[in-house]
């Protein structure tokens, strides 16, 4: 089963690229591939001009220092048997050979940076709120000053108000520390708020890719339009949705022939059912995989 099929994108330094799609589209698998947690069947992952796709683990230590991740479930990614202080200090102790006093001052600096009260340092993760736990995860991820942060649904498990705090924190940190982000989210408004460029994924494929502004203001692919109109936005104009959603996504194990979206697409033609549309550019850095435009 191809979880991810022919996905390509680039992330420039200091930029945020968002992968948007629903469950089963392969976006989290892409992140895992970047982290080299899954094997890559074909294609390349190039970081800072180095092809890391097939390197052995022993050759990747430098890479692991420069690429870190923050996951969806804050409690699930923090060791409940450790104090918050040690959770944040762990990467410092593992990757850098710095003296104890420096670890201490660095951890305190990080807690200030992410807005954690000092009192949390002695606690275990379970006594923290979701927002606080996610701040710990972020502090840990930025502790060794990575270049790239992978964010897998970093706020989906949080309340609206907490989400706002954490998203703004991530934006601040990006500027302060000159970070780049790859953000995976099912929420297109979060993608819009955070990202410079967006890739929309469906059943393992990128169906549309462009700047965040363009994707939201001039979506081309019928699935992108469906996603936007389903997004329950608060703008009044979105109340009259332009597309009536039909059906459910098919199984990723047995994707339909031709364009994977054709069973749910109101514009599907015979060609769509037979042939997969290639990702083509419509000029202006806007790519779409759809026979309406190819």
């Amino acid at each position: 089963m191809k979880a991810v099929d022919g996905v390509s994108f680039t992330v420039e330094r200091g930029q945020t690229h968002a992968l948007v799609g629903e469950s089963g589209c392969g976006k989290s698998t892409v992140l895992r591939a970047i982290l080299r947690l899954v094997d890559v069947y074909s294609g390349r992952i190039v970081f800072d001009n180095v092809d890391i796709t097939n390197r052995r683990e022993s050759d990747l230590k430098w890479y692991r220092r420069r690429v870190q991740a923050v996951f969806q479930n804050p409690q699930g990614s923090l060791n409940p048997r450790m104090r918050v202080f040690d959770i944040i200090a762990e990467p410092l102790r593992l990757h850098l050979k710095i003296p104890r006093e420096e670890v201490l001052s660095r951890v305190h600096e990080l807690t200030r940076l992410v807005g954690l009260p000092e009192s949390t340092l002695d606690q275990s993760p379970q006594s923290l709120s979701g927002g606080q736990a996610q701040r710990v995860a972020i502090a840990r991820a930025i502790s060794i000053k990575p270049d790239l942060l992978l964010l897998d649904e970093p706020t989906s498990a949080l309340d609206v108000s907490t989400q706002a705090q954490i998203l703004n924190l991530l934006l601040d940190l990006k500027e302060k520390l000159n970070l780049s982000y790859v953000l995976v989210t099912h929420d297109i408004s979060v993608a819009r708020y955070m990202a410079d460029t967006i890739g929309v994924m469906y059943l393992g494929k990128i169906v549309e890719k462009s700047s965040a502004d363009t994707i939201l203001s001039e979506p081309l692919h019928p699935y992108t339009k469906l996603l936007i109109s389903s997004a329950l936005l608060l703008e009044e104009k979105s109340l009259e949705s332009t597309l009536k959603p039909i059906g459910e996504p098919p199984s990723a194990i047995n994707p339909p022939p031709g364009c994977r979206f054709h069973p749910r697409c109101p514009y599907a033609t015979e060609k769509c059912k037979r042939e997969e549309p290639p990702l083509v550019t419509t000029g202006k850095e806007h790519f779409v995989a759809c026979w309406l435009y190819a």
């Binding site: 609206v160 108000s161 998203l167 459910e248």
Partner: protein, 322 residues
């Protein structure tokens, strides 16, 4: 508010949970009304008390919950103090519930068909043959694809969206007066969520039911319910027409909630986030629970606040008292 007696009347309701870490004041002095064929959305974040309210309405409060004060009156009966046999006639029949996790609704050991037929037989008193026809009808009403296959399927064989359709089917089977739906779509994908919400909205109209929809998402409220109540730390801080509240939020908490939502129409300045954390639910509060985080709070706000009526809206805030 439509003229005439409301279908459901919640008055001065306070519910506590007794837990190992203390007494949680989950719902504080709530007054709300629901009329026939009306849909009301209860919006709040975690700790707001919305789910406890939903559980109370569907007559499923757990043993460690204590109704400190107040009443829920339906059809001249106080649901919180009625006899067991009276409650059993109402629960699951006149008032039904849809849960957030579709898997929680269904027994893993029974097919969907068996589950639905059992409801028809036990709650409507019909024969198995009649039950079978009623169930097929209901599945058609919820626009279930592949009805024959679904009837014979076990819950784990169906997708979240289809299960939730079946759950809606189970909820409307007895032609209830009120459906209480607690975050019915938050575990579903965006495109499926949109389908299920529009189904709920249509059914409520066509079946003439009332709906209490509990959600953290104002976008859901806007699409489904004509009326909304905003809850914070157990208190209803504002209620009224959904569109009114979204266009012109009155309570500072509602304003902060709206300001915290990323809008996708334009990437303007930052979304605004409020500092601090929600109120510890073990604390008693005689005034407004939002006072310690409120940018407009005055000295007396945490001690004393009154509800102010503005047209058919209501807000719990000293900013509006005369």
């Amino acid at each position: 508010m439509s003229a005439g007696k409301p279908l459901l009347s919640i008055r001065g309701l306070s519910i506590d949970y007794y837990t190992l870490s203390g007494i949680i004041h989950a719902v504080r002095r709530v007054d709300l009304e629901l009329c026939s064929a009306e849909s009301l959305c209860i919006v709040g974040e975690s700790g707001s008390g919305k789910s406890t309210l939903g559980v109370a309405l569907s007559l499923s409060l757990p043993p460690n919950a204590v109704v400190k004060s107040g009443s829920i009156v339906y059809s001249d009966i106080d649901l919180l103090r009625a006899r067991r046999d009276v409650i059993n006639k109402i629960k699951g029949r006149e008032i039904t519930m849809i849960f957030q996790d579709p898997l929680a609704t269904f027994s893993p050991l029974h097919t969907i068909g068996e589950h639905l037929e059992d409801i028809a037989i036990s709650k409507l008193g019909v024969s198995r043959r009649d039950a079978s026809n009623i169930v097929i009808d209901v599945l058609k009403k919820v626009r279930m694809p592949d009805v024959d296959r679904v009837l014979k399927s076990y819950p784990h064989e169906l997708s979240g969206g289809m299960l939730q359709r079946a759950a809606i089917g189970a909820a409307i089977l007895t032609k209830p007066k009120i459906i209480v739906a607690d975050e019915p779509t938050s575990m579903l994908d965006a495109t499926i969520q949109a389908q299920i919400l529009s189904l709920l909205k249509e059914l409520v109209k066509s079946e003439g039911m009332s709906l209490v929809l509990i959600t953290h998402n104002l976008g859901v409220a806007l699409r489904v319910c004509e009326k909304t109540a905003i809850m914070y730390a157990g208190v209803v801080v504002e209620d009224g027409g959904t569109l009114d509240i979204i266009k012109e939020p009155l309570h500072p908490y509602t304003r902060s909630l709206l300001a915290a939502i990323p809008r996708s129409s334009h990437r303007v300045s930052r979304i605004v986030h409020i500092q601090g954390e929600p109120l510890d639910p073990r604390l008693e509060v005689s005034g407004c629970p939002f006072a310690d985080r409120c940018p407009s709070a005055r000295g007396e706000c945490s001690e004393s606040v009154n509800y102010v009526r503005i047209g058919d809206r209501r807000v719990y805030c000293n900013l509006y008292s005369r």
